[in-house]
């Protein structure tokens, strides 16, 4: 086992990694910006190094400072968490060059899967179904029109280097192609420094399902039952659950087998997630995330596997040891992302002093959070405050547990997404299960006696 891991992240995920290190007897090094002097990851790690001022570009994205901190503390490995440098192929390559183990796949795999058009190619080559659309990049509006003539409209133009809905345009008809192509490409260049785009058939009513994978350096590959992440707001996930409600068994097997084929063909190492859309009984590959994801605890709850600990074993060159029965879902788990955003004011980001913090407890409840009463939420970073994960024997019971735990969860000092989650759990269609990614877009939030309620609009 490696001896010391530098955690190149902050917030709840830095704590999550430090906790795994401690249980494995691995020493941990936290890095922090001057805005995070009072943060728990800085307090709980065995060692810590201040790496820069508040802006992420000067601290959590500051590669020389992070590499220097690893050298000074004698760390053997760097765990990037999610976000920041987690899918930065150049950073992984620098780690490789200076002899630091990067917790993740090798830099060339990160680069390959980071390009969405190339990732589609890799999936197609591995025999994984991909959404009908272009092969590779679309270098011109003409090429988009050719794909349109072939697979039909509506189409969606997407940024190859993108994510989060940026550089993305839906095209209803051929006449719109020219303008949409130019604006998508321009937005992609502005956001990701790379204007290349690709195009695929636009599926309107779909569910987002994804498969957690783990692979070691000895050729062992493990795929877990899918997570359903269809409750999204502007392409940001809010609620994730596993298994996906009402998904037929043969579809589950198909998803797991397709994911195993893809990572097998890549010679993948570490943890990753293969993302699919699911509509009308068919699933199509959309992209692969070559890192630990925010929602990994959902899979941990139904499998009993500590995914972060497995990552650390893999990077140490050890073999995965996942018991067979971990690969069948034990019960049902749901995760709620508690963000510092005001659902009543168009999800306006919040920052400031946490006055009261009282997380829920009791059976089947897990809270991953860096909050404490008296903590100042800095305005510089993302808005995730806490993840509440509930686990019970079936979906119905985990929804009841979720309602109970959300109700217990007390955070004061700022608005959060807690009341929105309660409103989602009260929604009849959500309770039936199998909603599409349009779920929140189809509804208005209304305030009723101090509580939020979702009202579907009929057009």
């Amino acid at each position: 086992m490696i001896g010391k891991v530098l955690v190149a992240n902050r917030g709840e995920i830095a704590l999550r990694i430090i906790r795994a290190c401690r249980e494995l007897g691995v020493r941990s090094v936290a890095v922090y910006s001057t805005a995070d002097r009072d943060s728990l990851h800085h307090e709980l790690a065995d060692e810590s190094v201040c790496i820069g001022p508040p802006p992420a570009l000067s601290s959590y994205l500051n590669v020389p400072a992070i590499i220097s901190a690893a050298e000074l503390t004698g760390a053997d490995a760097v765990h990037p968490g999610y976000g920041f440098l987690a899918e930065n192929a150049r950073f992984a390559e620098i780690c490789e060059r200076v002899g630091l183990k990067f917790v993740g796949p090798d830099s060339s795999t990160i680069a390959r899967m980071g390009d969405k058009a190339e990732a589609r190619e890799a999936a197609a080559e591995a025999g994984v179904p991909v959404t009908p659309g272009s092969r590779g990049h679309c270098e011109s509006a003409e090429k988009v029109k050719r794909v349109g003539a072939e697979v039909g409209y509506p189409l969606v133009i997407k940024a190859s280097a993108g994510g989060g809905g940026k550089g993305m345009r839906v095209v209803e008809a051929e006449t719109e192609v020219e303008a949409a192509y130019l604006s998508a490409s321009r937005e992609a260049r502005a956001n990701f420094g790379d204007g290349s785009v690709y195009v695929e058939k636009y599926l309107e009513r779909l569910r987002h399902v994804e498969v957690q994978v783990l692979a070691d350096s000895h050729g062992e590959t493990v795929t877990f039952p899918e997570r359903d992440c269809s409750i999204q707001r502007r392409y940001q996930k809010l609620i994730e659950e596993s298994p996906a409600p009402g998904l037929p068994g043969d579809v589950r097997e198909g998803l797991m087998a397709a994911s195993a084929d893809l990572i097998g063909s890549l010679g993948y190492e570490g943890a990753g997630t293969v993302e699919f859309v699911y509509a009308d009984g068919e699933f199509y590959f959309i992209e692969m995330n070559t890192r630990l994801q925010v929602e990994h605890p959902v899979t941990e709850m139904i499998s009993g596997v500590d995914i972060v600990a497995e990552q650390l074993k893999v990077v140490s060159g050890e073999r995965l040891e996942i018991p067979e029965d971990a690969l069948c879902a034990d019960g049902h788990a749901i995760e709620f992302r508690i963000n510092a955003e005001d659902p009543g004011r168009n999800f306006l980001p919040q920052a400031g002093l946490v006055e009261v913090y009282n997380p829920p407890g009791g059976p089947g409840v897990r809270v991953d959070s860096h909050l404490y009463a008296g903590y100042m939420v800095p305005p510089h970073y993302d808005s995730l405050l806490a993840k509440l994960i509930v686990h019970a024997r079936d979906r119905e019971a985990s929804i009841r547990r979720g309602l109970r735990a959300l109700d217990e969860f007390a955070v004061s000092g700022m608005e959060t997404t807690l009341p929105l989650h309660l409103a989602v759990l009260e929604d009849e269609e959500f309770r039936r299960g199998g909603v599409t990614t349009q779920f929140l877009a189809d509804r208005e939030l209304e305030s009723e006696g101090g509580l939020l309620r979702l009202v579907q609009h009929f057009s």
Binding site: V49, C50, I51, P64, A65, I67, S68, A69, T73
Partner: protein
């Protein structure tokens, strides 16, 4: 002071009375080898006394004394790296305690990823303290030197 002689506590008590009543800042008396100095607390720095039986008087925590409060200027590390006092091993240190430096003068280097970052004084003054060990790791914002800035 002769260790065998009892402390002149009675005299001290009288001097304290005198300082209080006179409003003087300090009284110093000397008799033979014994010197007693009694100084009044400057206005406003009184530690608040919590009278017994009263409630709700918050106790003020005295701020920790930092060298900056004594007019010293800290030169901090702008990067994470290794602190070196000299340009190369075996060479003289850029500065020593007691040296007078001018703004812009090199005080040390902090090496980060094989890059030598020369750290310069941002004020002119005297080097009064060197806070990091040669060849030790330093983090961002860590104080490296205390300078006593020149009078304007």
């Amino acid at each position: 002071m002769d260790e065998n002689r009892p402390l002149p506590l009675r005299e001290v008590e009288l001097l304290v009375e005198l300082v209080r009543e006179s409003g003087m800042g300090e009284i110093r008396v000397r008799q033979g080898e014994t010197e007693i100095s009694v100084r009044a607390r400057p206005e406003g720095s009184d530690t608040p006394r919590v009278a017994s039986g009263t409630q709700g008087v918050p106790e003020l925590v005295e701020p920790e004394r930092s060298p900056e409060m004594d007019g010293l200027h800290a030169v901090r590390s702008p990067v994470v790296g290794t602190f070196y006092r000299a340009p190369a091993p075996g060479e003289d240190a850029y500065v020593e305690i007691g040296d007078t430096v001018s703004a812009g003068q090199i005080l040390c280097v902090v090496e980060a990823m094989k890059l030598m970052n020369e750290i310069v004084a941002d004020v002119s003054g005297e080097v009064v303290e060197i806070l990091a060990e040669n060849a030790a790791g330093v983090e961002y914002d860590q104080p490296l030197f205390y300078l006593r800035p020149d009078e304007q």
